[in-house]
């Protein structure tokens, strides 16, 4: 019985070790490929998470469909906005807000970055479809919104700079 427990214990330790090495190996491989680091690595520092993954490593997403960014993004989009061109009736960017408007106002008041992300489009959208989706869902990022926007290609990604 003693030997059985010893053998089982060794097997357990070995398995755990292999599993950890496997996770680490996979994780490190992912980092080398695209630089993406999961939110858990940032210990709830959402500002660093967004800045590191989507600004510093924006090249991973530029020229690709928005769905690539949405697939990686671990923060829920609370509200979004459509960015209208000041000269032509077309949308050339969309804005993701991860906090509601009141929370954003509070953060700005306290000089904390409210994390507002602008996704600029390779090809501006000229139809009224996104507006009807937007109005219907009262600014909430819905499945309809995601399905409409996910195939648009990204030209650039920027964070709103509040100059604190």
């Amino acid at each position: 019985m003693k030997n059985y427990i010893l053998i089982m214990g060794c097997l357990f330790i070995t398995c755990c070790g292999m599993q950890n090495r496997g996770i680490n190996l996979k994780y490190n491989t992912n980092m080398k490929e695209d630089g993406y680091q999961p939110l858990s690595d940032f210990k709830n520092d959402t500002i660093s998470y967004i800045k590191d993954n989507f600004i510093k490593h924006k090249s991973n997403y530029i020229g690709k469909e928005i769905k690539n960014l949405l697939n990686d993004l671990e923060l829920p989009i609370k509200i979004y906005y459509l960015g209208i061109d000041p000269n032509v009736e077309q949308y050339y960017y969309i804005t993701f807000q991860f906090y509601n408007d009141s929370e954003v106002d509070d953060k700005v008041r306290n000089k904390v970055d409210p994390l507002i992300l602008n996704i600029f489009l390779e090809n501006p959208v000229k139809t009224t479809i996104p507006l009807s989706i937007y109005k219907k869902a009262n600014k909430n990022w819905t499945k309809d919104a995601s399905e409409f926007w996910e195939t648009q290609k990204i030209k650039d990604i920027e964070m709103v700079n509040h100059k604190f």
């Binding site: 509200i79 906005y81 459509l82 960015g83 209208i84 061109d85 000041p86 000269n87 009736e89 960017y93 804005t95 509601n100 408007d101 009141s102 929370e103 700005v108 507002i116 602008n118 600029f120 009224t128 507006l131 937007y134 109005k135 009262n138 600014k139 920027e158 964070m159 709103v160 700079n161 509040h162 100059k163």
Partner: protein, 224 residues
């Protein structure tokens, strides 16, 4: 809720704009701007005012479809240009006015844009100190396409308000854009006034923010 926030200052801005447009020397030249079609390029003229209250309009200065400007100086009282697109005052119009009032043309009191359908907008200077603060905070937020930089605070606010109002065909692009502009000009020292197509009277365009359940919505608060 139209009229809810029409202060004495707001009403005065509308009256001042109306009176400026009715000055004979100006209204004669304005007829030309009102007659320009949407296919025309922008045309600009300024008006100097001397110590004897004589008003002297400049010659027209032609530009492109989206840009025209003229000389500035200490006697510059107001200026006018058409917007073939029918759009309200642009970001550049606002920043330019703030810059000259704070610099070479401290006596400029207003700036007007004219749309092909006869609609006109005016930016009326009501507080030079506030305008200077606004200009210092936002003069670098002009985007290359002559809008507000989307990555700036003011650009975000403008976009949010525009989204709330824009609802074609009932609320046009120009109407939503003007309401967004009116909102970001709060505390700017400028008041945005508008004259409708068949009217001769300018009135303040107002936009107020209401927050419900953490979400902002924007409402009209014009002067009647």
């Amino acid at each position: 809720m139209a009229g809810q926030c029409c202060s004495a200052e707001d009403q005065q801005a509308g009256s001042d704009a109306t009176n400026i447009n009715n000055i004979q020397a100006i209204s004669n030249q304005l007829d030309t701007l009102y007659s320009l079609p949407s296919s025309a390029n922008e045309q600009y003229f300024s008006v100097d005012k001397d110590v004897n209250n004589n008003y002297t309009p400049s010659a027209f200065n032609g530009g492109s479809q989206s840009n025209a400007s003229g000389n500035v100086g200490p006697n510059l009282y107001t200026d006018f240009h058409n917007h073939p697109s029918g759009n309200p005052p642009s970001t550049q119009d606002i920043i330019r006015l703030g810059g000259v009032v704070g610099g070479l043309s401290p006596n400029q009191v207003a700036s007007f844009t004219i749309a092909p359908d006869g609609t006109a907008y005016g930016l009326v200077v009501v507080d030079e100190a506030k305008l200077e603060t606004f200009w210092n905070a936002n003069n670098n937020a002009v985007d290359s396409n002559n809008g507000w930089n989307p990555n700036s605070n003011i650009g975000q606010e403008h976009s949010k308000v525009f989204n709330d109002f824009y609802d074609p065909p009932s609320v046009s692009y120009q109407e939503a854009y003007a309401r967004a502009t009116a909102f970001i000009l709060k505390e700017s020292g400028l008041i945005l006034v508008k004259k409708d197509t068949n009217s001769t009277t300018f009135k303040k365009i107002g936009t107020n923010k209401e927050t419900t359940g953490g979400t902002d919505t924007y409402k009209e608060s014009d002067c009647n």
